[in-house]
């Protein structure tokens, strides 16, 4: 039986990091993830963890130091948000190409500009093709659980990819919720020891990392990354199975909420799923067969599995908390619809870009989305598949 606590999302992330007890944490303050390195440096100062905390002078150096540490043979972790991740961008790609299973806590926030410190997913979407595994978390509990599972996934020999656990800035990072923690010893046992095969600090086997890699080999190396991402799908489910045995909490690629008999459904990620569940409950009381698909694993993208889960619906709305500014639709929408198309699933699907820069999204607004879906279900027609939700002057 776990330990019942009340923690904010940032506290939950820092607690997970404390229990994981990594060798190196390198981080730089940025709202709303600042508290994570703050809490963590307290653990370091009080000798609660064995970690070397590297208080770097920028996020670029944070990721560089994590790469150096992980390549050296250590477990390295970091936390950041928005522009911090943008400044890391160059190193994000290098971390995954060097196959270093670094784990990051990403507290989602709008990428400038103009400057905004509140939640949207533009930071995570900006690195969606960088070769990192991306797990999304609806609640503080999920942010914690995903971090506890992270190293087992990232460090798996068939995977060896960095992983980021996303949660919504302020909405979950600064909200205190009930949470069930796992005992320290059980976390230690579940996460296990990191045993890299090749590492810089192995004097018996000096290695060189990060070559100039030209036409003759880069293609093959990229294909290996793609293969590892494919392999991660299986590993993510295996680790989730073990996690369920430990905690009773069940995780998959996504969560289906009242989807089985649903005619209309919303697809979204992170905390909005909570609002959507409340909306589904309200609509169900009115006899409307509404459902929800909450994506947990965004990279690797479970295209086939999602298409399968959506195939019996009459209309679907995909909610993107980041605009791709491409005159076609958000990233999640494009992935979902192309996944359906490739897997011969034909369901009328519409996109709503919402919650940009921390704009609040309410049950009433989501209710309107479901009502739109009812219309689409009746008419079978979609006038404009790329829409905004909660934009001033449009509703």
């Amino acid at each position: 039986m776990g330990i019942r606590e009340r923690l904010s999302g940032n506290e939950a992330a820092a607690t997970a990091m404390k229990q994981i007890n990594p060798d190196v944490v390198a981080a730089f303050p940025i709202t709303p993830s600042t508290e994570i390195p703050q809490y963590f440096s307290t653990f370091v100062s009080n000798g609660v963890v064995d970690t070397e905390f590297v208080a770097v002078e920028s996020e670029h150096s944070a990721m560089s130091a994590c790469i150096g540490a992980e390549a050296a043979g250590a477990r390295a972790m970091t936390a950041t948000s928005a522009n911090g991740l943008s400044l890391m961008w160059e190193m994000i790609y290098i971390a995954s190409s060097l196959r270093l299973p670094i784990v990051m806590s990403l507290v989602n926030r709008a990428v400038s500009g103009p400057l905004n410190i509140h939640c949207d997913h533009s930071d995570a979407m900006g690195v969606r093709d960088s070769g990192w595994i991306q797990l999304f978390s609806e609640t503080n509990q999920e942010a914690y659980d995903n971090l506890i599972m992270a190293h087992r996934i990232a460090e798996n020999k068939d995977v060896l990819l960095p992983l980021m656990v996303c949660q919504d800035g302020f909405i979950t990072s600064h909200s205190i919720e009930n949470i069930e923690l796992i005992e320290d010893e059980k976390v230690k046992e579940f996460v296990g020891k990191y045993k890299p095969e090749h590492y810089l600090l192995n004097k018996q086997e000096p290695i060189a990392i990060g070559p100039l890699d030209v036409q003759t080999y880069l293609f093959e190396h990229k294909a290996q990354q793609a293969k590892a991402m494919e392999a991660a799908k299986k590993v993510i489910l295996e680790v989730a199975e073990d996690f369920e045995k430990l905690t009773g909490r069940k995780y998959g690629f996504f969560e289906e909420y009242k989807l089985e008999d649903a005619e209309i459904a919303i697809v979204c990620m992170n905390s909005t799923a909570g609002t959507a569940k409340a909306t589904v409950n309200r609509l169900r009381e009115q006899g409307i067969k509404a459902g929800l698909l909450k994506v947990r694993v965004f990279r690797p993208f479970p295209a086939k599995e999602i298409a399968e889960a959506l195939k019996n619906l009459k209309a679907v709305a995909v909610l993107d908390k980041a605009d791709s500014l491409n005159a076609a639709g958000g990233a999640l929408f494009e992935d979902i619809t192309s996944g359906m198309f490739v897997n011969n699933v034909q369901v009328p699907t519409v996109n709503y870009v919402y919650g940009i820069g921390g704009r609040d999204t309410t049950v009433e607004e989501l209710e309107k989305v479901y009502k739109d879906l009812l219309e689409i279900k009746e008419s079978g027609k979609i006038e404009n598949p790329y829409r905004y939700l909660g934009l001033r002057g449009e509703n």
Binding site: D23, S58, E70, A71, A74, L200, L201, I207, P211
Partner: protein, 320 residues
């Protein structure tokens, strides 16, 4: 420090092997070789290399010229990357994840572009945080790897591809940054400027001190580039000699803030001796451009005098 310098030069194996692709007459490989020779044979090294000539020429997949462990990640972050490696070493030593009796030293190599310019923040951060590592800048005075573009280490008037000597603007119009002094401003236990000259004795001894002084240390080593400077490849050592004998590149070390000039030329040569064999300064020797050589000489003289003053002042402070 009693040791047989000749024996080390002759017998200690090079930790950067031959067969790399650096140009003939390049100043960087002898610098890297000699610095690594100063590591005790029983000690392991992790080299962190900034993107640049040295990196692309020594580690082209699947070949490496480095016998120690080596990491390259990007252009501007050799120091930050190495600081992560060093932090890992500390943590793993403390928790018994590494053998107790093994010693690893940490050495970063970056060119002037990766050090004076794009990597300055990363370098400053790593030095301030006090990681136990040596950062070596091999300064060839321009972005040579991308084709000789000016950097903040490029000397005034030099002809580069982004400060071309034209009919209106005669080369680079700004003086070069003094990086060693910026490093001294970080209050490091050891900062030195050196070059491959006089059987590499100065370089070897400074490298050994820098590697085995606890804490962050910095070496700035002039490393001429035949392509960018326009000298004959066989003249590398002559160029090094002239850089020192004209006081263009003074050899000194700063130990805990106290300056010590390690070589004072008996007769300081005029700086045009250093400038003349290099094509990048060719326009300075055209009739009517004498003012450029004069101005260059004045800058060298001022900087040399400033160094003499710093030596006197910091040693006097030490006595008090």
């Amino acid at each position: 420090m009693a040791y047989n310098h000749k024996e080390i030069i002759a017998n200690r194996p090079s930790r950067l092997t031959s067969g790399h692709r650096m140009c003939a007459g390049c100043g960087a490989p002898p610098v890297a070789r000699m610095i690594l020779r100063a590591v005790k044979p029983e000690d392991h090294v992790v080299v962190s290399n900034a993107t640049g000539c040295m990196e692309v020429s020594t580690f082209l997949y699947p070949y490496t010229a480095w016998t120690d462990s080596y990491i390259h990640t990007a252009f501007e972050n050799a120091a930050a990357t190495l600081s992560g490696v060093e932090a890992a070493y500390k943590a793993m030593k403390a928790t018994g994840k590494l053998p107790e009796n093994e010693v690893t030293k940490f050495i970063a190599f970056g060119g002037d572009g990766g050090t004076y310019d794009i990597g300055l923040q990363s370098l400053s951060g790593a030095m301030e945080r006090g990681h136990d590592l040596l950062y070596v800048c091999y300064d060839n005075g321009a972005y040579m790897n991308t084709g000789i573009q000016r950097s903040s280490a490029t000397p005034k008037f030099a002809d580069t591809t982004t400060s071309p000597a034209g009919t209106k603007i005669p080369g680079k119009m700004q003086s070069r940054k003094d990086l060693a002094k910026i490093m001294v401003g970080h209050h490091l236990p050891y900062v030195a400027q050196s070059i491959a000259y006089m059987n590499f004795k100065d370089l070897y001894e400074k490298a050994e001190k820098a590697i085995y002084t606890e804490g962050p240390t910095f070496l700035n080593v002039l490393a001429p580039c035949p392509r960018g400077w326009g000298y004959n490849t066989e003249d590398l050592m002559l160029i090094n000699k002239l850089a020192v004998e004209t006081c263009y590149w003074p050899l000194y070390e700063v130990v805990d803030g106290v300056y010590h000039i390690t070589y004072k030329p008996a007769k300081k040569l005029p700086v045009e001796e250093f400038l003349r064999p290099q094509k990048r300064f060719k326009h300075m020797f055209k009739p009517g451009n004498e003012w450029m050589i004069e101005e260059f000489q004045k800058e060298v003289d001022n900087r040399w005098q400033e160094l003499l003053d710093l030596e006197e002042m910091t040693n006097k402070n030490k006595e008090n």
